[in-house]
Amino acid sequence: MGTVRNRVRLSRAEKQMTQEDLADMVGVTRQTIGLIEKERYNPTIALCLGLCRSLGKTLDELFWMEENDDAER
């Protein structure tokens, strides 16, 4: 399977929100938002949808899959 990439940090910056603001809106900790932005944690679909709603984006604008070289072979 590939790697899940995201545009959460960029979208949050566009909205001029802090990690803390976004965390409060979606009901997680600031640390979890940090890990998602660093792509070190894959959120559940429910949290992805919450982030989309809070940032005013669609799911495919915010998250996408990047295929690994191994998977392509």
């Binding site: 900790t29 640390q31 940090g34 890990l35 660093k38 070190r40």
Partner: protein, 143 residues
């Protein structure tokens, strides 16, 4: 050849987590019964006690290493954090003093103060270590 399934992996982890909780508190219950009902000493139950302490410390430090806030899932503001940090070590220090008093094993105020002081300092040290590991995790993972 193995084939991973995320739903099954998640359920396996959940079951293992519940089994761990059951074992941890089961061993604790066994220790409580042996100490307070059967009147056994710590020396007689050191094997169970060691397993319980190692498992509990492992859980505690793994939480710290994974960036779990100390009071999770209760969010604490800075004032609440201070109250938490001031209260928990005091209660933890008073608990063994109370237990020894009820068992008639306290030899005097000096003994009580010694037990309280050592437990209080140990708890503060555990808290300080947790905070330090949490801060290290945050620097390493989020910056």
């Amino acid at each position: 050849m193995t084939q991973r399934d995320e739903r099954i992996d998640s359920d396996v982890r959940r079951v293992e987590g519940k089994a761990f909780v059951l074992l941890k508190w089961g061993v604790f219950a066994v220790l409580v019964v042996r100490w307070f009902v059967l009147g056994q000493t710590l020396a007689e139950t050191w094997d169970f006690f060691a397993v319980w302490v190692v498992a509990s410390l492992f859980e505690y430090f793994m939480y710290a290493l994974r960036g779990v806030p100390m009071s999770y899932p209760v969010p604490l503001n800075p004032r609440d954090q201070l109250v938490f940090l001031a209260t928990v070590p005091v209660v933890t220090g008073l608990l063994p003093v109370l237990i020894l008093h009820l068992r008639g094993a306290l030899t005097g105020w000096g003994h009580a103060l010694g037990i309280f002081g050592r437990t209080y300092i140990a708890m503060l040290a555990l808290f300080a270590l947790y905070r330090a590991i949490n801060a290290w995790w945050e620097r390493r993972s989020l910056e």
